[in-house]
Symmetry: C2
Subunit: 446 residues, 2 copies
């Protein structure tokens, strides 16, 4: 039987400086795309073999888009003009700055420049029970898993004799009112209004409750108060129950208990309450603050000239952004492109240029044809105009002709029909705790 | 914790005769669509919540199409004009003709007319080892599973130190040269030629072997000898190694042994060698022959006036088809539509009309732009013309505007670019035996 010992990285030796990039997100891919193989050998690591457009993940979870429409195979992105580019789908487990080596699951590799672009992962704030029972929405399998959970819950609600069980199946609790939570809530509300009554004529979906729970005092905390107000209005128009300044104490898979004691029966708790940096072992603890690597204006990790961090994992404190840049795609993209130029400058013995973030504004969608936008210069958009802006910005950034086409056709279709296309259960497994589901699936498969 | 006891079918009582349909395939859905709720209450059971266009399953396995492009939610197919239609995603476990009741995982239900349209499942001919280690290609999860397996094998082949391990990862063995096996082989050969060398510049894909193994003396046994000859020519042009009159003895996940002793090292054995009827417990054994229900010209199961079988699960022996109709979509579709009319005739006290199969011909695709077709009146097509015919027939039969659009755009795109779009690994689990994969995934997830 093949075992890990029989695998190795198989990276060809090179006379060129080797740039090792950990993470195939917006930062890592934009950096790699700009690194000419005339100057560098580029090695990219990612656990997944695809680059995803995660701002649309909630669309996959609510069956608006195919999973493949928002993801692009990394090898496809780099397959032609990148002669000395090497992708490996393995996890980087350790960094040794002294020997300039990284360790992976299948062997070690030396680097001349190391760029950490690992981004963030879901933060459960140490609550193992929540981690165990809740549904995260951070990666593609999460979205597929949640999609199955939602539609299986509706099917079960349609078949239960117990009113209380039905109610707990129809209560959806979303924790975290950031863009993910807000967009998911809006999308679920549209589904409740336009899709589900047609699918389940016998069921009363006025009993389906969508709770949006936020610890801070307003929705979309990262955006402007104006945008938050507009968004809350829109969410409430859609019938979403918003609970601000509310924290989750526990969740056992059936009942969520909030600090203060209030409880809600729900079989589906979606955890969008926070993320944390996905740091790598081996660098001094002093380089990490709040789970992010402290970097200077050149994205160099504190104390290192040849190790960089970009994107969400990098904490660059500037006058304008004392707490670092917002955790969205733009800083990662811009830092990736900027760092590519700086690495070239190092090779040419030129002085590095400091990174400056160009804020293109931020957008969030609420339901089918409403959105909010904060634009540079304190400009605010909302409603249909903002939605159209959102639509084009997102399609523009979607990677690959095919994806753009698929997504666009889906959008057009859905906009005119209210129809959400892909309500297909392809989850092959259930949470271990879900006895009924487990037994059910086992027997289905017999 | 919710358990099965708390679920029930919740089918409303009715004064109309109740038609219970088991299976949401071509037969079941076409029947249900034609049954007016003026005369009948219709209850449809299927384990999955979607109807699939399985002739294109191989496209999903080879990353040509999104899974959602070839499947349609059953509730979506029946959500508007079907007032007294009820879908339940549960398995029917037993039939009791005496009391006219069926049993399901979540309760019993009486029927006035029972239609068994359960189709077929993969037939391993009792070989548990093959069932355990091989990859079937019968349902959507199979295709996703195979897709992940293929691309994970390429990644592993790209990272192994051992030449023999690499070779076993690059040997793909397809057992069964029916349409599924042939179309899959052709599609893999196209991928080997046009996609993989770009994805894995370091790898020598002349070493990737695609074996197509068939027990009978020609490929595409169900089609005409002429089509078989043409197909074999095309397959050989594509560099596929064809082994006729060859039977698999054993497969342990690493080595396949054929009757006669020949062995091939392979990590991927695709089992497309046969199907068997998915019968339901409770009917007399005398009604079953070779795993199919013996039916008369009205699709009534031998000895019953109110129990019918249609599609692959029905064995209707006629002069023209002494062994029953071919196991393709057309007989199922035509029998479903025909039976709908007969059920109405029964209600109106009219005499039943016998079913007559109208053969529209059969098609199979080989690679990117070649196909073969047997048409009525001994007409044969092959090459590009047949491929175009194949293309339009399949798109025409694809269900739903959105799917047609997605599939069409994919086809156009792929035809002009050779690019196969969705090479994304979304398999959340591995075969238990696959130690390396298991360990690998566990560590990746850490």
């Amino acid at each position: 039987m093949l075992d890990l010992q029989e695998l190795s990285l198989n990276i060809p030796d090179t006379a060129k400086p080797r740039v090792v990039i950990v993470g195939g997100g917006f930062g890592g891919t934009n950096l790699a795309k700009k690194l000419s193989d005339k100057y560098f050998q580029v090695v990219l690591f990612d656990r997944q073999n695809y680059h995803g457009f995660w701002p649309l993940l909630y669309q996959v979870a609510t069956a608006g888009l195919e999973p493949d429409a928002i993801a692009e195979p990394l090898r496809k992105m780099f397959d032609e003009d990148y002669k000395d580019f090497h992708f490996r789908p393995v996890r980087v487990t350790h960094v040794d700055p002294a020997t300039k080596m990284i360790s992976t699951l299948v062997g070690d590799l030396s680097y001349d420049y190391l760029i950490i672009a690992t981004g963030t992962k879901t933060n459960y704030f140490g609550n193992e029970q929540i981690k165990h029972f809740s549904f995260p929405l951070k990666r593609l399998p999460d979205a597929l898993n949640l999609r199955s959970q939602l539609f299986q819950s509706f099917e079960q609600a349609n078949m239960t004799k117990s009113e209380s069980v039905r109610q707990s199946l129809l209560n959806i609790v979303i924790v975290g009112a950031g863009p993910t939570g807000v967009e998911l809530a809006g999308s679920l509300a549209e589904m409740r209004k336009h899709v589900l009554p047609g699918d389940y004529p016998g069921m009363d979906f006025s009993r389906m409750n969508i709770y949006l729970v936020e610890g801070l005092e307003r929705v979309l905390p990262p955006m402007s108060p104006k945008a938050s107000r507009k968004t809350q209005e829109n969410l409430e128009k859609l019938g979403i129950i918003i609970k601000l300044k509310t924290f989750v104490e526990t969740y056992d898979g059936e009942v969520v208990t909030f600090k203060g004691g209030e409880q809600i029966q729900t079989r589906t708790l979606i955890w969008a309450a926070g993320v944390m940096g996905a740091t790598i072992e081996g660098l001094p603890e002093t380089t990490v603050e709040k789970g992010r690597y402290l970097v200077n204006e050149y994205n160099q990790i504190q104390g290192f000239a040849d190790i960089f961090a970009i994107g969400d994992i990098a904490l660059m404190k500037t006058e304008k952004y004392p707490k670092g840049h917002p955790g969205v795609a733009q800083p990662a993209i811009q830092q990736g492109i900027h760092l590519a130029k700086n690495l070239k400058r190092i090779q040419k013995g030129e002085v590095l240029k400091p990174f400056e973030y160009f804020d293109k504004g931020s957008l969030a969608i609420v339901g089918r044809s409403k959105a909010v936008a904060d634009l540079p210069g304190n400009l605010h958009l909302s409603g249909f105009v903002a939605w159209v802006a959102w639509l084009f910005v997102h399609i523009y950034y979607l990677i690959g002709f095919r994806n753009k086409l698929v997504v666009l056709s889906n959008w057009i279709y859905r906009f005119f029909t209210y129809e959400s296309g892909t309500r297909i259960i392809i989850r092959p497994f259930y949470r271990k705790e879900d006895k009924v589901a487990e037994e059910f699936m086992r027997k289905q498969a017999e």
